[in-house]
Amino acid sequence: MNAVLKLSDLSPAQPATGSLEIERVSVELGSGAARFTALDDVSVSIRPGEFVCLLGPSGCGKSTLLGGLAGHLAPSSGCLLLDGQPIAGPGPERGLVFQHHTLFPWLTVLDNVAYGLRMRGVPRAERRAQALTWLAEVGLQGFENSYPNALSGGMQQRVEIARVLINQPRVLLMDEPFGALDALTRLKMQELLLALWAKRRMTVVFVTHDIDEALFMADRILVMSARPGRVVEEIRVPAERPRTAEWLTGPSFIEHKRHCLSLLRDSAPAMPLARLSPLSEPSGDAADATAYSD
């Protein structure tokens, strides 16, 4: 990374780790005649602690890129680096959140949150204490003994975020995490995530197809096009943080939104494409051939 940092870069919570390098990455998915290029020669570099949104139409490969960063999909060519180290498979330093929660239904909320610590061999009492702290942080005190199925969609995503953040990841990867929530809940979750991020400053890569969401959350938006998946434009969001309703309704916001909308309109395929998953192609068998084995 930068050998010389300018003084202005050194905000109090500027993290030292969490830089991502995406170098000329292509990903091909499917087999035989159905094989297609989901990502085509994508290069992006992300600073530690940056909040980046990948914005694009369904099927543009934004989730595929996220899957690559998470280590669930191996690129066909190019390389992915976290703090200079190649990414070779999934790991707790890169937390992954899906659109629908993946909490274990057989574990209580507390045990779900403490799961990562358990995998690291942290003693029980310590796990419990930390998990309770995290549940409080996401506003779920008193739900530690519930099972995930008893919670609402928004609460499930709160638990999911706590479960990922307890591992203190350098990078948080999110695949339309609030896409299935109602508008009000979504807004609350966006504010919660920004508050958590402001406090801890991990790098966030956030996939969305919602322009407002991207403009509200991101430092930088990468607009993607579909088939082949490419980054067509990079937009720096000029708004100060913490962001307020003023930004959301101001003329600069509207201007940016109009610009994004025209980009998306140009890049959208003639026919809507199936949504890609961070794990593999839209349907059919999991692509064992392209996925990393553990």
Binding site: G91, P105, G116
Partner: protein, 264 residues
Amino acid sequence: MSASDRPSAGRRLLPVLSLLACVALWHLVASRHLNLGLVTFQNVPQPLEVLDAAWALLQSPKLQYHLGSSLSRVLSGFVLAAVAGVALGLAIGRFRWVRETLMPPLEVARPIPAVAWIPLSILMFPSSEGSMIFITFVGALFPILLNTIHGVHGVDPRLIASARSLGTRRWGIFLRVILPAAAPSVLTGLSIGMGTCWFCLVTAEMISGQYGIGYYTWESYTVQNYANIIVGMLLIGLLGMGSSALLHRAGQALMPWYRPGGRA
């Protein structure tokens, strides 16, 4: 549990009434020696004869030996089948090469009825106890195996991906994700397997020398003691029902998060 789930007095009486109605119908057709041409009840013993026979068996010191032998055979066969079926099912469900290696012979063996295994099991096992356990094992193995495979295939790949992203290693994935996620399906398999175990008991105990409920039933047939046959049949039915209920309870206790047909 909400108030509407709690059965009212009338609803709780219904199963009892249903059983009583069956017995009444049985009494009616057997006492009238009903002959319908295709099916005849002329030689069917009446409920009261069966009750007498049951009372006689209850007084007999042999009953505990019959019960003890049958229970230990069913339990041994079932436990062996559960261990083998779940272990094989997990491996077959998870790994393609295991599936491609093991499924062809298993598919050939699956349709073979328990009774057809009798000669071979006598040849293979030096003790008749061993061959009887083997036959109940064969009966229970396939439902457990197939339901386990089904359960493993049904595991959401995102759960596995999340577990790996949270730092779970290979064996942890089996133990902490695939096994619990497949558990409801495994329980269905175990419950069906327990049923088929009792189902195969008479077949297994055809080769028994003296004890066992299945042996008692089969022997009563060979000596034409028809009332005793029905006593044996009903005993097998009751024991099978009881063991299924126990399994169901165990499943509920082990999986408090799982409520079929509804959310927890």
